[in-house]
């Protein structure tokens, strides 16, 4: 079977049915907080009572399963924080709890985010034994100076060693890099990216550095002590990324995600295809279909408060609201257009109760930012992707 055939089969299998049902598990602890990160992560100096967390995760899983019973779980994703800091038996216990409440698809994808350090790499085998079959490594850079600036605790060499262990241990793996870093030139980035592609990973996540509010980087940036590339330079870096990855067989399938055709992260595809997913753990979000309503859920973010909440109520939900058709339609658009495959305009119309504005579509198509493919799907063009937020705002207005 050629790659192209495999891709066709894979696409047919994911496109044919609903996007599937995913379970997101949030592990909120890190060894240290990276200065650019605004995710829900916390540093604890005392040992974490993992057994107690496992019991709370099990309660929340039971609660979610009662809310959305009978789904077949097609993907599970351990995100964080740093879930690779979990004891492997913690991950195993959580997977067991999921399997007790929902049927599990035979080809289930179980991803875990991991730091590429030698310590964590030693747990990979045990994590594999617990049921994890895909890892996503937070390599972030292959340049030691950049790693230090990003506040990462590993070196480039250590990261590449962890990548090697991951390759041996798991069926599938991916790693992340952050680009558009201060002073980064397109040439330097091409070289770094080429080196990363030499690792022969089936999947790469390549994020432009974003200054998020309330992070140390935001403070430095506001004080003029951290300079990031201006829009022109950032665009040049983005264009270089597309060019290099496409040439090496890992084209973008989403704004920042690249894969060999068929090797896309199926869990994240559920988000982007605006499918159904349960979120468990502190600060996890979910989207569930309950009767005819689409429910948005979110849990308490703070780990210990989440724990107490789950222990007293059986779940840590702080948000559980029905989304209006317009809100659902906005989310469908926001997420779906991030994918190169785009969205089905008929699905948008069915969700919103109204079609997309044809004249806006025509305008954006005339500007070569949007196109309608042979199957009638509406998708953003390569020229449109760098301006995606503006395109979506225009369509949604």
């Amino acid at each position: 079977m050629t790659d192209a055939e495999a891709a066709t089969i894979a696409r047919a299998s994911i496109d044919a049915a609903a996007p599937g049902f995913g379970v997101y598990v949030h592990w909120p602890f890190c060894l240290s907080k990276c200065p650019y990160c605004d995710f829900n992560s916390h540093v604890r100096h005392a040992a974490i009572d993992e057994a107690r967390f496992v019991r709370a995760f099990c309660s929340e899983i039971a609660h979610a399963a009662a809310r959305a019973p009978g789904r077949t779980v097609s993907t599970i994703f351990f995100g964080g924080g740093t879930p690779s800091l979990m004891a492997p038996q913690t991950a195993g216990a959580i997977l067991d709890a999921i399997a007790r409440h929902w049927p599990i698809a035979p080809d289930v994808e179980v991803t875990l985010e991991a730091n590429p350090t030698s310590v964590e790499a030693t747990r990979f085998r045990a994590l594999r034994a617990a049921g994890v079959n895909r890892v996503s490594l937070g390599v972030q850079s292959l340049d030691d100076a950049a790693l230090a600036q990003l506040g990462r605790l590993h070196s480039a060499r250590e990261a590449l060693e962890a990548v090697a262990v991951a390759r041996e241990t798991f069926e599938r793996f991916s790693f992340d890099l952050i680009y558009a870093r201060p002073e980064q030139t397109p040439d330097a980035w091409r070289t770094e990216l080429d080196r990363a592609l030499d690792e022969n990973s089936e999947h790469l996540s390549l994020y432009q550095l974003t200054i998020e509010a309330d992070t140390p980087f935001a403070t430095l940036h506001a004080a003029g002590k951290l300079r990031i590339p201006d829009p022109d330079a950032a665009r040049a870096l983005y264009d270089a990324t597309q060019e290099v990855t496409a040439a090496r067989g890992l084209p973008a399938y989403e704004v920042s995600n690249h894969a060999r055709p068929g090797a896309e992260c199926r869990h994240n595809l559920i988000y982007w295809r605006y499918g159904e997913y349960a979120g468990v753990g502190p600060g996890a979000h979910g989207r569930l279909q309950v009767d005819r309503a689409r429910i948005a859920t979110a849990t308490e973010k703070h780990p210990e408060r989440w724990l107490l909440r789950v222990e007293s109520r059986g779940h840590g939900l702080v948000v559980e609201e029905t989304l209006s058709r317009e809100e659902q339609a906005d989310e469908l658009l926001l997420m779906g257009l991030r994918l190169t495959e785009g969205i089905d305009p008929a699905r948008f119309a069915a969700t919103a109760g109204r079609p997309l504005d044809a004249s806006r579509i025509a305008d954006l198509c005339a500007q070569h930012l949007l196109e309608i493919d042979d199957c009638g799907r509406l998708r953003v063009t390569p020229a449109g992707f760098p301006l995606l937020d503006a395109v979506v705002a225009d369509l949604a207005a």
Partner: protein, 601 residues
Amino acid sequence: MTAVPIENVRNFAIIAHIDHGKSTLADRLIQLTGGLPEREMVEQVLDSMDIERERGITIKAQTVRLSYRARDGKDYVLNLIDTPGHVDFAYEVNRSLAACEGSLLVVDASQGVEAQTLANVYQAIDNNHEIVPVLNKIDLPAAEPAKVKQQIEDVIGLDASHAVEISAKTGLNVPEVLEAIVTRLPPPKGDRDAPLKALLVDSWYDAYLGVIVLIRIVDGTLKPHQRIRLMGTHASYEIDRVGVFTPKMQDAEVLGPGEIGFLTASIKEVADTRVGDTITDERKPVAEPLPGFRPAIPVVFCGLFPADAADFEALRAAVSRLRLNDASFTYEMETSAALGFGFRCGFLGLLHLEIVQERLEREFNLNLIATAPSVIYKMRLTNGEEIEIHNPVDMPDVVRIAEIREPWIRATILTPDEYLGGVLKLCQDRRGEQADLNYVGSRAMVIYDLPLNEVVFDFYDRLKSVSKGYASFDYHLTDFRPADLVKMSILVNGEPVDALSMLVHKARAEVRGRAMCEKLKELIPPHMFQIPIQAAIGAKIIARETVRALRKDVTAKCYGGDVTRKRKLLDKQKEGKKRMRQFGKVEIPQEAFIAALKVDV
């Protein structure tokens, strides 16, 4: 309450630069004479509109009657008139001053005489006022009373040796101000037995009482049930109530000569009561009205459109409500290709425009877009027809126009000597013709004839900036003169934006066009495509700028949790877009319409 003996009445105004303490002094005088119980005192009692309090501008004249037992043991009635304080309302100020015999000139002892004060002092002198200089803020370490007194003598030519030195804030010496009013200002003159003759000082609309008219009785008396006639409009009414402000409204049986008070007479609209009109007895009218009556004529026009087209009916209701209380403001419906339905409105000047717009937005909760201000143009067409145009959109094809005439004003500008050069250059740049230049103390007084068109376009802001705020400015319309005017259009992405088109002098078109394009370039956010901005006269492009296309605008990371946050951001973007106007494919923010017209040329 009965009429007081005329020799115990004093009518006075307070003249002061903004922030020199006029309102604080008025508050103190009210407190000292027991006009309001302590618990009802708020700061700046007389400025009843929020906008007045915030901007420190008095828009409507207000009055308060103070009862004062002087050191001579006699009881006096002191009527304080608080006047509007801006050039747009110069006529209203003049009428308020005409209702008084004297003024307090309040000068900040740490700042000295400032420009704004001058025009009003000269108006007071023109009205034969006795003037008592008051030095305020003498408690401040920076106060220099001796120097400021000298300045008053040099600049204004008033004897300042008996100036009262006070601190309105602490109340220091404020009682001396009351004594000075009694002893140094003359009582009004008037004949109680003569036919009624009263000055209409101002009027406003009250939801319960209808129009309330502020008046100064010159001769005769005014009582309920009396039939009166307004000599300017020839309308007659029967008086319902007469009375005074303490500052609360208090009914009186009669108002006599020299008194200042109010009347109500089932008058429906403020427009029926023109400031400066003469009120007389219907059965026993005077032969001659009081001098100086001049109907308010709007001289500046602009379109006001609701930002959200759905608010048009609300805007219609709001302008008609506002007009009830402000007869100098006019409106008629207007349709714009770009902005939809709105109103073409006329104003006394640019500040008046801003105030009306702000009141509409604030009191009626409307979001408005104002188009380029314009003046009235008289055009003679080739077929002999004469038309008036106050909207560039209505301008006929050039080949049909035989002649355009534009309004000119005579401007009087007082400025400290060191800014004279800048002021002269500004007037010269604005096509001004110098009529006179001389000195008043160390200040230069320049008189210029200027096209009003050049004045409505940020002249006042420029004057303030070239003179660091020291120049004062007053003007009146003189005549219409032939003008070499062209219609300049602004094209955004190749499409003309009618709301930004304007009539400009041919020689000034290029400079102004370039400035407009540069400003719009700053104000229009980058789009997904590049946007040319052009200024054109007919088909000829005279200036061009380009808004560069967006280069990158995409969220790098977006997963399951982020979708909620991202959706909320999208909601904000949608809100923002509602504040934009769509011209073809381009969205122009509302503030661009006003800001583009304030460009510095």
